[in-house]
Amino acid sequence: MVDPALVIISFILNIISETLNFVFSILGLPDWLYLPLFITAITLTFLLALVLDILFIIWMERKVIGRIHHRRSITETGPVGFLQNVADLIKLLVKEDMHPSNADKFMHFASPVLIASIALIPAVLIPYGPETFFMRMNTSIVLFYAISTLIPGVVVLAGWAGNSKYSTIGAFRAGLQLISYEIPLSLSILGVILMAQSLDFYRVIEIQSNIWFIALQPIGAFIFFIVTLMELERSPFDIPEAEGEILVGWRTEYSGLKFGLFYAAEYFKFFIASAAFTALFLGGWHGPFFDSVIYFLIKMHIVMLAMVWVRVTFFRPRPDQLIKISYTKLIPLSILNLLWVVLINPFVIPLLQ
């Protein structure tokens, strides 16, 4: 059966290349410009799709939280309130840009840009479909998490550049969160890597064609889910932000477009982390009848829904409780998971091939 997503994607690519051909024939541009322009056009298209999807995700999150609170949430702007996020975006764009008088001006400007761009890079490492991916490399999982780990560093910088007690406390809490989630995160990914015997996202997804890893190592998936929440700084683990305790933590001094960039980075991270969960544990693009990017997107959005669901349900632990949970529960559990993987690997690997 033909993958319908592929038809659509090749159609879009055709449109882009036809338009470029037309432009080139009219303006008589040199040939060597073709490739860079083509890549730029594709990147922009991908970004546009990403932004549209993120608008949808924010809308979904607000709606779901509203429903759980027995409210209606956004209803007024556009059909079912969908345009509310666009309105919010415009509001952020036209807001006055301010920075504290004694703050480090350069870092205050640079950190939002840094976070937004770093948060976006891992998106190219994930294969969304059997034919729709940006690049394939042998160590994409390692690179993926190496890049993700940069973000808390920038967060500490951003909090420091805010030059207020709340942002500094928030920044230190972000560091504290980092040391509590890094170890279980690596250990739970190690289970997947051992079972797939590869560091490549593509290979990990390919090998799950018969059975998903969430069925083979449920504890690992559970730990990875929790740790992802910690990494995303989402409730219940939004300790660096902790509204009601330290305002909005390390983001306190940022307004307007800078805040918008932080917000966008948060949702880029949300998008990418749920994509990683889908790739590592939910079998990526595999589904009934045909393998398609559509299945990947559906699974990814279900993971997001689950994260929103968790966000509304549980309350925030204290920072010391977080470390306690991490070191006395998550690390032993992930080691247990690793043992389990080592035990069942000899029986499972022949089945997976």
């Binding site: 429903r67 027995h70 409210r71 209606r72 669901w309 968790v310 509304v312 349900t313």
Partner: protein
């Protein structure tokens, strides 16, 4: 054992929020949707005029003195036998919708409707005082007043006006009302012809209306 407990402590809250996620929201989009009120909702009052026996219990039950009675035209209130013809007028500006009058009514004449919107069509305090003809449920009794003066003429029989005005004006209106009542009784006794009564009563009513307007809603 404790592991099962911990798993439960994760699953149970998720189940509750999950249930809420698929349930309908409680919010009513009010101006566009009509709010649904319960059967026992104590809304604005209605009156079954033909059930009312003019017993006066609703006035006695009211803790806020916002009920007084109005006699139909041409009926002499001094005649105790005519008492059964009087009907309650209500000042919703003072009412607390406690429902005691409804509870006291022996015939179920005065009752609460499902209506919850209490609004004034003008900035006049008079709008919140409703005569029995305005709250009557029967169509043939219902009356809509052309102007405020004709409504004041009905309400001059009641003490609702002075209570509504309140403060220093209470005494003033009380005195005006006494003068008005003397004229009324004279007219009922046939000592005053229709035209002079109308002219003299109108003078007093205009002053009262002026006072009521002064103490109007902002």
């Amino acid at each position: 054992m404790s592991i099962i407990k911990k798993i439960k402590s994760i699953i149970l809250p998720m189940r509750v929020t999950g249930k809420y996620m698929v349930s309908k929201p409680f919010t009513v989009m009010y101006p566009r949707e009509k709010a649904v009120v319960k059967k026992q909702w104590r809304g604005l009052h209605g009156l079954h005029s033909n059930k009312c026996i003019g017993c006066g219990l609703c006035r006695m039950a009211c803790p806020n003195d916002c009920i007084d009675y109005i006699y139909p035209e041409g009926v002499d209130p001094r005649d105790r036998k005519q008492m059964k013809l009087r009907r309650p007028a209500i000042d919703w500006g003072h009412c607390i919708f406690c429902g005691l009058c409804v509870e006291a009514c022996p015939t179920g004449a005065i009752h609460h409707t499902q209506e919850y919107k209490i609004y004034a069509t003008s900035d006049s305090r008079l709008d919140l005082i409703r005569t029995p003809y305005e709250i009557a449920t029967e169509d043939d009794v219902r009356k809509i007043y052309d102007d405020e003066l004709s409504k004041i003429r009905e309400l001059m029989q009641t003490d609702l006006l002075e209570v509504a005005a309140g403060g220093e004006w209470e005494e003033v209106i009380k005195k005006l009302r006494e003068r008005w009542r003397d004229l009324w009784y004279m007219k009922l006794d046939g000592k005053l012809d229709e035209e002079t009564w109308d002219k003299k009563a109108r003078e007093i009513e205009e002053i009262v209306l002026e006072i009521i307007k002064q103490v109007s809603l902002p």
